[in-house]
Symmetry: C2
Subunit: 451 residues, 2 copies
């Protein structure tokens, strides 16, 4: 039985899909926090290259991928689509489970899709250096790779507690030649302010964002790069879903459900938005299930309102689901899902009832991750394992109802740098952490989820 | 420019290549150490399944790969062949460098190619459980995956010092459901004997082999599995080179040089032997360069004689290059290359002048590994980095001579589980370890190597 559906290199998509062309109502604009008025795109010119700012508000349905970006993509793209028949058999389900595998990228996750595009656009506009923040290091290592590829310098503010506890992603970034600092640092005013109040601060993503932005603003040769949330970042990730559509077609399938994990939302959007386009243009009903950790339940337990993207309130205000910009999630292993907010595009589609959010406990998530590894041979990253768990739950419900369903998992990355999390789970030492704000909402989410 | 040469799944080879059909003189047989007479194949029946024992002495040129093995291979095979143009540019060389990437397998190295075949043959012969040893854990994790895939139990004796210092491979094996013991254990006579003499023994591959063999012998439901050295293991790895031949053809190239790292020799044989066949049948001169660590210089500094495969002298005697079965290599990071002996097939071809051995220091090797990562975006395993370094040296010599050469690297695996080695190198804390027995021989090897 054929279980892997490769796409020929000639079939690599040459455009990204821009969902802004297909929304029934416009996105609420980002606001300038000083005036509460919509922020002009040019106000972002100190941070981002012109091309990305244009993409932030573009309304063309398809946007050309520059040839030099395609050339880098071709090192590992198109990524494979697999059918998880061994998992299906273990679950004794009639559901057919597919997964789109982004772990094949140089740094092991989907993050390279936008890192390469952003580095390229900065490069052709004469930028010499990119500053960014990273938590567990997935984003930082993707940007370090992309900067090295296009000959840019790269400086990464890494949340101090991850810097100390997760040395391997840091080593990967160093191998690619990036400069890495444990944030908060004394290199920025934002960092010095925090250290003044608490010399032992473990740092946070919010603080690291503020430091990277400050570094970008003070030099014209340096710009800032963000790994999720913004429209242009989600745009670059749509290559995942565009490939997956063709691969599902070649498998003779249309998904009934697409599931993905959600932190800032870029991986989820990447796999889902092209299928949203398909559902819309071909009037096919497809369910889109967004999976988050129960202890950081942005979509299932947050408010929908304007909020800052960072703790230090330096970003524009974004209309999004938020747990509050000062929310500090518990230290679960899925570091990429520990974000208080979410991409405005995701919030928009949740408000319109198109995306269904759900939240799970990390112990349940790891149970499915181990089941997946034992059946399919691939160890999911803790973030990805959230999507895997949702697929497992849906497939089990299908088995109980004797229903067929075609499930597509956006498999954002492998777990090679998260083995300590697997060890903790196998040792029974993983905390359930059920006491998050979203527990009851998540129950609601679950009951809506399944066949 | 096209830099990745994928092979369609339909073109996955369906046979392995058996070099025993093409040797100019017969291999020297393994001997029974009690009689010094050739050992009868059936004497190995307590350890290995019948199919593997037959393959050990088979003379058919091509041997069918069973369909259930092909089905598992198809999860990640054919693996990609890349042209390393970015590395070429950095080296300002006219050499064209290709690499056959085995890091795409579930456990990140070539080891799965034989693990899957061995688990399958054991399964169909009614075996319930496989015992093996592992050093750094590449082999153990491959066999753990393969056993899980075919429903066998798996018990791994892991060298104690690696068990303690390298927890992540151990976690991967546990995730696949294997039982792992820090060797020496008190589960076997061999282990108890060692512990009696030295309760704090750090263990060695030789001891772990003895324990695994003892466990296999005492139960008919359990057999033993070896990850390198033996003919049938090398046979299973030839899928690498068979694919690479077709991919090089589709790139319009024939290699002038094929380089690979050598520990027990299975990865090297896997990529090289099918090109040996090509060189022989099409009278094309191809150089085959075997790369080893200077501090464990089996081929460049060892003797050629009959020796045991393990420290405790429980295996048959094999005709091979050896540093002596009690040789303990320094603890370099390339754990997979720390073996006192080598596959008899490799020794045979070195004796015949077909394979050219060379040895390098690990600091030089890591310099090339970092260069490779920074240009090609992939972090080689420390073992693989030895082959990368040889290719870099050859390409640099080509640049100096303004010569064209086509170099093919057998890229055995990624370095995701070896990041501490990269950190040590970047910190300048990696020992050069130039004082191995092979230093002068290796210099000789180097001078012979290049354009």
């Amino acid at each position: 039985m054929k279980t892997r559906f490769d796409l020929d290199q000639h079939d690599l998509p040459t455009t990204w899909y821009n969902v802004l062309a297909d929304l029934d109502r416009p996105l609420k604009p980002p606001l300038d926090p000083r005036t509460n008025e919509p922020i002009a795109p040019e106000a972002l010119a100190a941070l981002f290259p012109r091309a990305c700012i244009e993409q932030e508000v573009a309304t063309d349905r398809f946007i050309d991928i520059p040839e030099p970006v395609l050339e880098v993509y071709r090192r590992w793209r198109p990524t494979p689509l697999h059918r998880a028949v061994h998992l299906e058999r273990a679950l004794r389900t009639r559901a057919r489970i597919y997964f789109k595998y982004e772990g094949a990228s140089p740094t092991g996750s989907h993050k390279t899709n936008t890192a390469v595009a952003q580095a390229y656009y900065n490069r052709i506009e004469g930028v010499e250096r990119l500053a960014t923040e990273t938590g567990a290091g997935q984003w930082g290592s993707a940007l370090a790779f992309a900067c090295r590829t296009f000959g840019l310098d790269c400086v990464v503010y890494m949340v101090r507690i991850s810097f100390e506890q997760k040395p391997y992603r840091k080593t990967m970034m160093r191998t690619f030649g990036a400069e890495i600092f444990a944030s908060p640092t004394d290199r920025t005013e934002a960092g010095r302010r925090i250290l003044g109040a608490d010399p032992d601060s473990p740092g946070s993503l919010g603080i690291a964002i503020s430091e990277a932005i400050e570094e970008a603003i003070r030099s014209t040769a340096t710009k800032y790069s963000l790994g999720s949330v913004l429209n242009h970042v989600l745009l670059h990730q749509t290559i995942i879903g565009l490939e997956a559509r063709r691969q599902m077609e070649s498998a003779g399938e249309t998904p009934d459900v697409v599931v993905g994990c959600v932190g800032g939302g870029s991986n989820f959007a990447g796999v889902v938005l092209p299928f949203f386009h398909e559902a819309k243009t071909r009037s096919r009903p497809i369910r889109f299930v967004a999976v988050e950790p129960r202890v950081c339940p942005t979509l299932t337990g947050g408010e929908t309102r304007y909020d800052f993207g960072d703790t230090a309130q330096t970003t524009p205000l974004l209309w999004m689901h938020t747990l509050g910009h000062d929310f500090v999630p518990p230290p679960i292993h899925a570091g990429g899902l520990r974000y208080h907010g979410v991409a405005p595009i995701i919030t928009h589609l949740v408000e319109d009832g198109i995306i269904e959010p759900v939240a799970f406990d990390q112990t349940d998530v790891f149970e499915s991750a181990v089941l997946f590894a034992r059946t399919e041979g691939i160890l999911p990253a803790p973030e990805t394992a959230h999507a895997v768990h949702a697929a497992v739950r849906i497939a089990r419900d299908c088995a109980a109802q004797d229903e067929e369903k075609v499930i597509l998992i956006g498999f954002s990355g492998h777990g090679h740098f998260d083995m300590s999390a697997y060890a903790a789970f196998l040792d029974g030492a993983l905390s359930r952490a059920t006491t998050g704000a979203g527990a009851s909402t998540a129950q609601l989410g679950e009951s809506r989820l399944f066949c």
